[in-house]
Amino acid sequence: MSEPPWGPVHRDIVDLLADHPADVPAVVDHLTKLQDMLVRLPPLLDSCPLADFNKLYLVITSTVLDGLYADRFVDPVFLSRLDVEFAARYFDALRLWSDQSPSTPKAWACLFERMRGPDARPLPSAAAGVNAHINFDLPFALVTTFDHLESEPVDGSDQHRDYLEINKIFAEKIPSLRRGYLERWQLLIDMLNGDIDDWYQGELIGYTRDVAWRNAQRIWRCRHDPHRHERERRRLDETSAALGRLLLSPLGAFLQ
């Protein structure tokens, strides 16, 4: 028998993932428990590349939760549903990976694969997680949330304002990602050809989150067409995976 994907904490993680958190406090609770498990993964304590992302995500989600309690957002119903749906996709990816399912999103698989591999540096690992979560998961989470609330992704709406408020949280919490990192990231993207270039369509982006919002609007328009929707999903998965692999490659060290 080969070793299960989560090694000695496999059972714990599978049990945790059997539960599906349905509100933001529960999501924070879930991420906290997950963090405790991930840092116990071999070879060394605190050496898991995924833990670097999970920790960052936990900090951001906790800040979002504080913001919800502190009346920071205009439309908390939207924001909390989005937060839960967003997190659910991360947990789904982890669950698929636990089952060693071939349908684990490629965007995530490239980071998960590194858990056994050569030591990845913390910043690129966290960045690869952020990449998968924002470039791949976020647009779909947005569409599901809008659909459920019978609303739409419209620029300048209350929801859009709240969404942009999260950018501030990212900016507060990831000072190292904020400037130097993203500029260099942009530089990397510029060095590439083909798909990724098309994907960004020459837009000047401050944050990939804006791309996610645009992609959500794009998916929104084809959400009733299963075939086009599936094509869109694959496209985003491939592109995010390409970026993720890049971030985790030796080139990623350049970002550190």
């Binding site: 309690y69 205009v74 739409e152």
Partner: protein
């Protein structure tokens, strides 16, 4: 047509089948509903399991209805249900089939009344109940990822128990689809929390099972090398295992490594006629009926049968009694590259011609699809229009929108079509299915066709308001009012709608001004009663919020008179509704509000609007009666309202009202059932009702001593509430603080200091905002803030004064339930301070009388417990039967008080804690304890406790 797929044994799923059978049938109590959602990747065997479990349940006497959802965008609403009924129809004797025909006829009828969507759900569930004839119904739905909205609503309605049908739903969802932005994701997240719902993930087979399946197909065990290759290639996916094993058995193994290659090889090996057959099926809408296939391929009968048989034998085609479908999506992909566009167009034309010559029920969508792909827009257009109208009849606005949009496209360049009318329909359907941006775009196109501008402004404003874009909507209404080509009637409409919008935005002065303007405009127009009612409501509420309740009330009373004189039922209903809401809401004139609501409900039922408006009015009456403390009456009203079989929001409000009563009564089972029903309905959307649901869940959890569950419900509510919903926030915060205080008192759950800190912060914020709010809002919020302050005092030293204030607040508002609760706590605080025990006794007796009158069992119990501990007599006469002395011989020597102390000792409490509980000093407890030791002849608390516990057996 039998295909040999049926002969392959079901491997490795025995436990799962048993689990599903139990969840759906064996352990479902009569009258209850249940659901199992099976998720898994394609080929993992979902359909097979559905059939297996469906057959087993059929054998056990259930009525099993089987349908699948379609993946073409042109599917019509309720397709899976209609398909299931037709299949059943084909299986049954003509006599039994009559009830099915009559239900199928419902789908072809025109809707009646304003509550058409709800009426449709009700008629469908009643029809199903007739067909079932007392048997449990099992609805088996495959490919649920393609389900239409109407079917989705029907499922939730039935699962919530609103259809009065013992129903189990077994549905399969392709997990790949859930990875995208599928609406079912949210539905499943919400549903999986319910006790009656299971979401099961179907994993691929493990290696041993994969080999067993392969051995069963091949007819002998595989050698090690073949087994290894099979495992590598299939990953345990049963469909792939089966297909690869079949090639292995037939000696084709090794030629094709992937499933795609397997199918390619088989297509290549097909005879010519069979080739034609699979291409025809690929171009059709599955399942393709035999007669239709015959018309399309134009083969002599025997040749056709041979061709079909060959395609089935090569496992490219699957046949069942309702038609043919391709075995796998990959088959379609393989075939796709083989046909020239012209050849494909010919196939579509043949389909369209065949369908035209044999009109069937709801064929229009299919017809439009084929004509369009045949390249014949002038023939596709009327079919698309008919399909759109059909979809609208079944409230499938998403489908209708799609058909209208296709129609608009088709009309492009066709002479003699009314493009403006098509655009208008498309925009309205888009608006109804929540495609607001699209609706606005379509209106822009409509504007370009030279429509009168006034109507367009009003429509645009309406769409914008529905999309929550209030500022833009306001500007648009203003444009309508300013436009030169507006009629006085249109102006009155615009002003009345604008007033309503401003009221919702809380801009009462502006709303009042616009409402007056609207009333003045409406007076000049014959028959503008709707506008009068709308504007009066806006004016009435704005006056009430601006502290002139009498003026507001007078306006709405006049509006009701006007509506009655004009006689349009909807106007009368709305007038009653607004009047009752005003009285029971901001004005807090509850008794009168209840009378208006009940009289209105009767009147409205006479006018034929029982299901919709009467239930809404009765919900208002129920909540009013609950608050004034007439619970028994409230119970009757809510039961009467539910007999109207409401659906959607109306049903949710009534269930919440009934649940509120059950929580007050302490009927945990009934409350749980209603909460689950509401949660089921809300899984389809409806954020507005989530907070009341959570509040009730918290209240119920506290009666059960599950204070952590209560805390969690409150926390979820707090993170999903807008800060301007002051009343809702105040109620939640009170529940949160109460949960912490109860946790502290019961010592069963640790107090969460972090939560307390947050709750106190939010209390302060609510208090600050409340000062600036309108008076009616402030009044209610103050009542809850008084409760909050008093609960906080329970956490750090009881203050009877704060509870006295809370009691006074609620007495003043005439709500006995919270008033009785406050008295109980006031008495408790007084007793804890060992002060004024006489006052405490009086308060407890008052509270006891109040809760007895309400029937509030758990609260009465708490009062009794406290009174017992404090030795307060609640009733003048002692109860008829004297309670037997608890405990056996060994405790006989102890006094009643000593026995109480001993019970507390046995719980592990310290003398100090026992003193707090029994309201006597720590020293006195010490004396009691030493007496107990003497009498029992023991020296330690442990020994004393042991005797106590033994004596209780």
């Amino acid at each position: 047509m039998a295909s040999d797929v049926d002969r392959t044994p079901l491997v490795g799923r025995a436990d799962l089948v048993a689990t599903m059978r139990a969840a759906l049938f064996d352990s479902v109590a009569p009258g209850n509903t249940a659901a199992v959602f099976l998720t898994g990747e394609s080929g993992v065997g979902k359909t097979r399991l559905l059939r297996e479990v469906g057959e087993q349940l059929g054998d056990r006497g259930a009525l099993v209805l089987t349908g699948s959802c379609l993946d073409i965008g042109d599917a019509s609403p309720l397709h899976p249900l209609r398909q299931a009924l037709r299949r059943l129809d084909a299986d049954l004797a003509p006599a039994a089939a009559a009830s099915i025909r009559s239900l199928l006829a419902v789908f072809a009828e025109d809707p009646t009344g304003p509550d058409g969507a709800g009426a449709l759900l009700e008629r469908v569930s009643r029809g199903l109940s007739v067909i079932a004839g007392g048997r449990p119904v099992v609805l088996v739905l495959d490919d649920l990822q393609w389900v239409d909205r109407t079917t989705r609503q029907l499922l939730l309605y039935l699962l919530a128990g609103l259809g009065d049908l013992q129903l189990s739903v077994l549905a399969a969802v392709r997990s790949e689809s859930l990875q995208g932005a599928h609406p079912l994701r949210r539905v499943l997240t919400e549903l999986r929390r319910l006790r009656s719902v299971r979401v099961l993930d179907l994993a691929p087979l493990d290696r041993a099972d994969a080999e067993r399946l392969a051995a069963a197909v091949v007819g002998r065990p595989l050698d090690a090398e073949a087994a290894e290759r099979l495992w590598q290639r299939s990953g345990g996916n049963p469909f792939v295992v089966e297909e690869l094993s079949r090639d292995l058995r037939d000696g084709r193994y090794g030629l094709s490594d992937t499933l795609r290659e397997v199918f390619l090889a088989r297509v290549d090996a097909l005879p010519r006629a069979a080739h034609r057959v699979v291409h025809a099926v690929a171009a059709g809408v599955e399942p393709v009926e035999h007669w239709l296939l015959a018309r399309v391929v134009e083969l002599p009968e025997q040749d056709l049968l041979d061709a079909v048989r060959a395609a089935v034998a090569h496992r490219l085609l699957a046949g069942s009694h309702d038609g043919y479908r391709l075995r796998h999506r990959l088959v379609a992909e393989v075939l796709e590259d083989e046909l020239l566009p012209a050849e494909r167009a010919v196939l579509h034309r043949r389909y369209a011609e065949a369908l035209t010559s044999a009109p069937g029920e709801l064929h229009q969508a299919r017809l439009a699809h084929h004509w369009r792909l045949a390249g014949e827009p002038q023939r596709a257009l009327p079919a698309a229009v008919a399909a759109a109208e059909e979809a609208e009849r079944l409230y499938g606005y998403a489908e209708a929108h799609r058909h209208w949009s296709v129609a608009v496209e088709l009309a492009e360049g066709l002479p003699g079509t009314d493009r403006a009318a098509l655009l208008g329909h498309a925009a309205e359907a888009a608006h109804h299915c929540g495609e607001y941006a699209r609706a606005l775009t379509l209106l822009e196109e409509l504007a370009d066709t030279g429509q009168p501008v006034c109507e367009l402004y009003i429509r645009r404003a309406r769409y914008l308001a529905a999309a929550g874009r209030s500022a833009l909507a306001e500007a648009e209404y203003q444009r309508a009012l300013d436009a030169a080509d507006c009629t006085p009637g249109q102006r009155a409409t615009a002003a009345a709608r604008l007033a309503e919008l401003l009221l919702h935005l809380g801009r009462y002065a502006d709303a009042g001004r616009r409402a007056r303007e609207a009333l003045a405009l409406a007076e000049q127009v014959e028959g503008a009663t709707t506008e009068v009612v709308l504007a009066s409501a806006a004016l009435g509420f704005s006056e009430a919020f601006l502290e002139d309740p009498d003026a507001g009330l007078a306006v709405l009373r006049r509006a009701l008179e006007t509506a009655e004189r004009a006689g349009r039922p909807e106007d009368v209903a709305l007038a009653y509704l607004h009047l009752a809401e005003l009285l029971t809401g901001p004005l807090n004139i509850l008794e009168e509000g209840v009378v208006v609501a009940r009289r209105g409900a009767e009147r409205v039922a006479e006018l034929g609007l029982g299901r919709s408006y009467a239930t809404r009015l009765l919900a208002i009456a129920t909540n009013g009666l609950f608050r004034v403390g007439q619970w028994a009456e409230a119970e009757k009203v809510v039961a009467a309202a539910l007999r109207h079989r409401p659906s959607g929001t109306d049903a949710v409000e009534l269930l919440l009202a009934r649940c509120r009563l059950s929580v007050g009564y302490g009927d945990i089972e009934a409350a749980d059932r209603d909460l689950d029903a509401v949660a089921t309905m809300l899984a389809g959307g409806g954020a507005r009702h989530v907070i009341p649901l959570l509040t009730l869940r918290a209240g119920l959890a506290m009666w059960q001593g599950r204070h952590d569950v209560a805390r969690h419900a409150v926390q979820r509510g707090l993170t999903e509430t807008r800060s301007d919903d002051l009343v809702i926030l105040a109620v939640l915060v009170w529940h949160g603080l109460r949960a912490e205080a109860e946790a502290k008192a019961s010592r069963s759950v640790a107090v969460d200091d972090n939560a307390v800190r947050r709750l106190r912060e939010i209390t302060e914020r609510v208090a600050g905002r409340s000062e600036r709010a309108a008076r009616p809002v402030r009044d209610v919020v103050d009542g809850y803030l008084a409760l909050c302050a008093a609960e906080v005092s329970r956490l750090d030293g009881a203050d009877p004064e704060l509870w006295a204030r809370a009691a006074a607040e609620w007495d003043h508002r005439n709500h006995p339930y919270p008033a009785a609760y406050s008295r109980l706590r006031q008495a408790e605080a007084l007793l804890a301070g060992r002060r004024r025990t006489a006052t405490a006794g009086k308060l407890l007796r008052q509270a006891y009388q109040m809760t007895q009158a309400l029937g509030a069992v758990p609260l009465t119990d708490e009062i009794r417990t406290l009174a017992g501990r404090a030795r307060v007599t609640l009733e003048d006469r002692s109860p008829a039967a004297t309670p037997a002395v608890e405990g056996g011989e060994e405790l006989a020597a102890l006094t009643a008080r000593e026995r109480e102390v001993l019970a507390a000792v046995a719980e592990g409490l310290t003398n100090r804690e026992i003193g707090q509980r029994l309201f006597i000093s720590e020293r006195t407890i010490g004396v009691h304890v030493s007496h107990i030791f003497d009498k029992l002849q023991v020296r330690t608390r442990v020994q004393a406790s042991a005797i106590f516990l033994r004596s209780r057996g």
